[in-house]
């Protein structure tokens, strides 16, 4: 039971998320029937699940919510701000209920009561309307008794379905009560069910743990066959359900038909479809042309529905992590096998090792893909954030998300939501102006925040763009001077000034609000993003808006790399950034003017890794130059030997090396030694910066007045 409960919790979380999403769409398109149906459906599933697993409070709560959306469905109630606000608040409360189970703190209990009364208020409003408008035709349309309160609409012109529900004997084993399914059919429309107990054994032979009953149900409803199938969605494999459309009109409203099937069913003989059809045809005076729309839901039949359900499976993220670890270990072991095979000089072994290498590479790629999730999964909460905050701050903001199908590694997505939240809060609080301000400035009343994500090379970019007031660099300058970050006469470029906002302790909001600006600023964003090896860039134009761009690596765990060696240390360079390899005599490197060498007829800046890494032993006479490419900047890196391609399983270097930017991690080679994985982008940035610093220091030493620049560079670091 515990395990089912856990599963329900997971599912309920997903349901609540999709509910939130649907509600937000509903807000934009309040009359969209499909969305209302969707909201209703989700609430219904939540209700069913919570009552099944003993979440009584949640059951009662969702029941009320369901009633609201039932009223909306029947046009007795309009989707209004009031309804949506109440529902969203209720959704938040549902999350609490899910998390804390049935035990609520006094404050939550109070909230519970408050929400319930809000919902009751809405319901009573809707119901009075329904009673005014709905009474007369309801009475005329309901032909007779059998049907309970659940019925909402029965028309003459709805098709009639004939449904055979034949639960498998072992259906009780997973806790399903088939009677509830038949009950649920009753809620769909005008319904008449007949119990079939022909399979019931003699009392002595009866096994009470098995189900021997079956039902035959006539249902007149405006729902589609798919809706009817949904009733049985959880019991597909323990229940045979055959749904047939027998007429295009409501046969149950024809008393002749009803009395006929009554006697027919009581005869206890197996229902013959042919007889039935003939009879219907007779009843309708042969005026209906029938469609044979027969669909069977059966577990052992690979029907179209079944295929649809297994196109997705739910796997816990722990299992995925395990899988990823195993693949990493396999890749490491494969590396030692390849090394061993190479040393054995046995062609047979070599070919096996090569095959394993190929397979493990494919396995690795597949596992990666499994671990990728679309960025959409974290977007919902931002939609919600924009909605709530803009209400709170009395701003009108439209949120647009583009490219939400862009996929990222699960671990990166996890690390992304906090900094994004921060950026959004900033944009809403400081970026977008109030509606009046906007009108005064000739902008549209409604502000706009766009989140755009896309792939570029081996990176994923996420852009958050607002059309708010932009950043006033003059203010930044004054503030930076006041805080002592820069000197009063410092001469900074526009971009340099903008970048100051990333410094710790820098917040430009004049007043501190609930939303943002508690002294923690964008520096936190930069830190969090760099924790997942990303970069943050900011662009802004006063009065036009601000754009923040986050650049992220596709994955964090295994990369294709080029294995190289300097003295005794192995290094791995990500293959994605490697352009070409060259060979140069040591002399040329030592004598390189201004640290530039000519590669392929072009001057390329050279980073002599031996110098930078402070390795001076055993320098070979010929150096290998790896030309790497980062953001269109080409740089040569000098190493001793190029060993070849290598699949590197990235392992973190740990907190002892957390300040080390240029190494993104370590990997274990086939022989058990460790190779360090270099990050070319950061090498270029770091050394670029250092060269600049050195040059500026030189200027300063020469008495030049470039001093301010130096202070800035130090500051930006």
């Amino acid at each position: 039971m515990e395990q089912f409960k856990k599963k329900f919790l997971e599912e309920a979380n997903d349901l609540i998320n999709s509910l939130e999403d649907s509600l937000l769409i509903l807000e934009e398109k309040p009359s969209e029937k499909m969305i209302i149906e969707e909201v209703f459906r989700v609430m219904h599933s939540l209700k069913g699940g919570s009552s099944m697993f003993g979440f009584d409070k949640m059951d009662a709560f969702t029941h009320e919510l369901e009633t609201v959306y039932d009223l909306i469905r029947n046009d007795s109630l309009q989707v209004s701000r009031e309804v949506l606000d109440a529902t969203l608040a209720a959704v938040d409360h549902l999350k609490v209920l899910l998390e804390n189970g049935e035990e609520l703190s006094p404050a939550e209990q109070k909230n519970h009561q408050l929400l319930l009364s809000r919902i009751h208020h809405i319901i009573s409003k809707g119901e009075s309307e329904q009673n005014d408008a709905g009474k007369p035709n309801k009475a005329s349309e309901l032909p007779d008794n059998t049907d309970s309160v659940g019925i909402t609409r029965v028309y003459e012109q709805v098709p009639t379905y004939y449904i055979t529900v034949r639960p498998h004997p072992e259906i009780f084993r997973n806790g399903t009560n088939p009677i509830l399914l038949v009950d649920e059919l009753h809620t769909l429309g005008h319904c008449k069910a007949y119990l079939k107990k022909s399979a019931l054994p003699k009392f002595d032979d009866l096994d009470p743990e098995l189900c021997h009953l079956a039902w035959e149900v006539f249902l007149a409803t405006d729902k589609t066959i798919d809706d009817i199938k949904d009733v049985f969605i959880f019991v597909e494999d323990v229940c045979t359900v055959i749904i047939q459309k027998i007429a295009d009109v409501n046969m149950l409203s024809k008393s002749l038909f009803v009395s006929a099937i009554d006697t027919f069913m009581q005869s206890e003989q197996a229902t013959d479809m042919k007889n039935l059809e003939e009879f219907i045809a007779k009843t309708l005076n042969s005026d209906s042309s029938k469609e044979d729309d027969t669909i069977a839901i059966r577990a052992d039949e690979a029907g179209p529905i079944k295929r649809l359900t297994i196109s997705n499976i739910r796997v816990s993220s722990d299992k995925l992590d395990d899988l990823m670890n195993l693949v990493s270990e396999l890749v490491t072991t494969q590396a030692s096998l390849s090394l061993f095979a190479e040393n054995q000089n046995n062609p047979e072994l070599m070919s096996i090792a090569e095959n394993i290498e190929k397979i493990s590479r494919q396995l690795r790629d597949n596992t990666f893909e499994i671990c990728l999730i679309p960025i959409e999964t974290i977007i919902i909460r931002f939609k919600r954030l924009v909605r709530d905050l803009s209400n709170e701050l009395n701003k009108e903001i439209q949120f647009v998300a583009e490219g939400t199908e862009t996929e990222l590694d699960k671990s990166i997505i996890d690390g992304l939501s906090e900094p994004l939240m921060h950026i959004f809060r900033n944009a809403i609080d400081h970026g977008i102006e109030s509606a009046d301000d906007r009108l005064a400035r000739g902008k549209p009343r409604q502000g706009k925040i766009v989140l755009k994500s896309y792939y570029s090379g081996t990176n994923v970019y996420i852009q958050i763009k607002d059309d708010g007031k932009g950043i006033d660099v003059e203010k930044i300058r004054q503030k930076a001077i006041a805080r002592g970050f820069i000197s009063a006469d410092a001469n900074l470029s526009y971009k340099e000034l903008l970048n100051l906002v990333f410094l710790p302790g820098f917040s430009t909001a004049a007043k501190i609000t609930e939303v943002s600006g508690r002294g923690v600023g964008l520096d936190v964003v930069v830190k969090k993003i760099s924790d997942i090896r990303g970069d943050v860039e900011i662009e802004s134009q006063l009065g036009v808006g601000t754009t923040i761009t986050i650049k992220l690596p596709l994955t964090l765990s295994i990369i294709d790399g080029l294995l190289v060696k300097i003295d005794k240390t192995h290094f791995v360079l990500p293959l994605a950034s490697v352009d070409k390899c060259f060979e140069l005599p040591l002399e040329k490197i030592r004598n390189a003017f201004n640290n530039k060498v000519v590669l392929d007829g072009k001057q390329v800046p050279l980073v002599n890794l031996r110098n930078e890494f402070d390795i001076h032993e055993n320098t070979p006479k010929v150096q290998q130059i790896i030309q790497v490419n980062h953001d269109e900047v080409k740089v040569g890196l000098s190493v001793d030997i190029v060993l070849g391609e290598y699949q590197a399983v990235l392992k973190p270097l740990g907190r002892m090396f957390k300040d080390l930017e240029i190494v993104s991690g370590a990997t274990i080679l086939g022989d058990g030694t460790i190779a360090l994985v270099l990050d070319p982008a950061r090498i270029i940035n770091t050394f670029d910066r250092e060269t600049l610093n050195r040059r500026e220091k030189l200027y300063r030493d020469l008495g030049s007045n470039k001093q301010q620049l130096v202070t800035l560079k130090e500051l930006i670091q």
Binding site: H570, I615, G654, R655, M656, A666, I668, G672, I674
Partner: protein
């Protein structure tokens, strides 16, 4: 081990040598002792970071304890060992290796055996000492492992000890 005279509970301490000095660490902090093996140097890391090694598939940072304690670096010998320690750094556990000149023995001590570290005239910052134990005319420093190896304070140990080094040379002469 012998029953305690003072009646306190016995705690085991691993003692090791750095140059002429003896130190000890609570064995509950020691995961294992490894023989010296090739260590991959990590460029641009602090001088007291010797590098990283592969410890059964994970990357283990190795510190040169001599440099960290402000002593002169020496060549590794056959006795040089890597003591794998589990320390608490910023509230989270962290596994690291510490290079020592040699591992000596396991001492069983009661709290009463450990004397408070001297506050003045000591070459080591008392903040990093749990105390000291007198053993055959010499002292063994009982380290506060978590404190000594926490990053923020790494450099401070070196600074204090470096300053204190000349004094200690004098002290040794006596």
């Amino acid at each position: 081990m012998s029953e305690t005279k003072t009646g306190g509970t016995l705690t085991s301490y691993l003692s090791f040598r750095l140059g002429e000095e003896m130190f000890s660490a609570d064995v509950s902090k020691v995961l294992e002792i490894l023989e010296m093996r090739p260590i991959t140097k990590v460029p641009r890391s602090p001088s007291y970071m010797r590098g990283v090694i592969n410890l059964r598939g994970s990357v283990l940072p190795v510190l040169d304890t001599r440099i960290k304690f402000g002593m002169a670096a020496t060549e590794d010998t056959v006795d040089t060992c890597i003591v794998v320690l589990n320390v608490i750094m910023e509230g989270e556990p962290l596994t690291l290796g510490a290079l020592v000149d040699s591992v000596e023995e396991v001492l069983e001590l009661t709290e009463a055996d450990i004397e408070a570290p001297p506050t003045i005239g000591s070459k080591f910052n008392p903040e990093y000492m749990h105390g000291m134990v007198k053993m055959d005319d010499s002292f063994i420093m009982v380290l506060n492992v978590d404190k000594v190896f926490s990053t923020d304070e790494l450099v401070m140990v070196a600074e204090t000890t470096e300053k204190a080094l000349p004094e200690s040379a004098e002290a040794q002469v006596k």
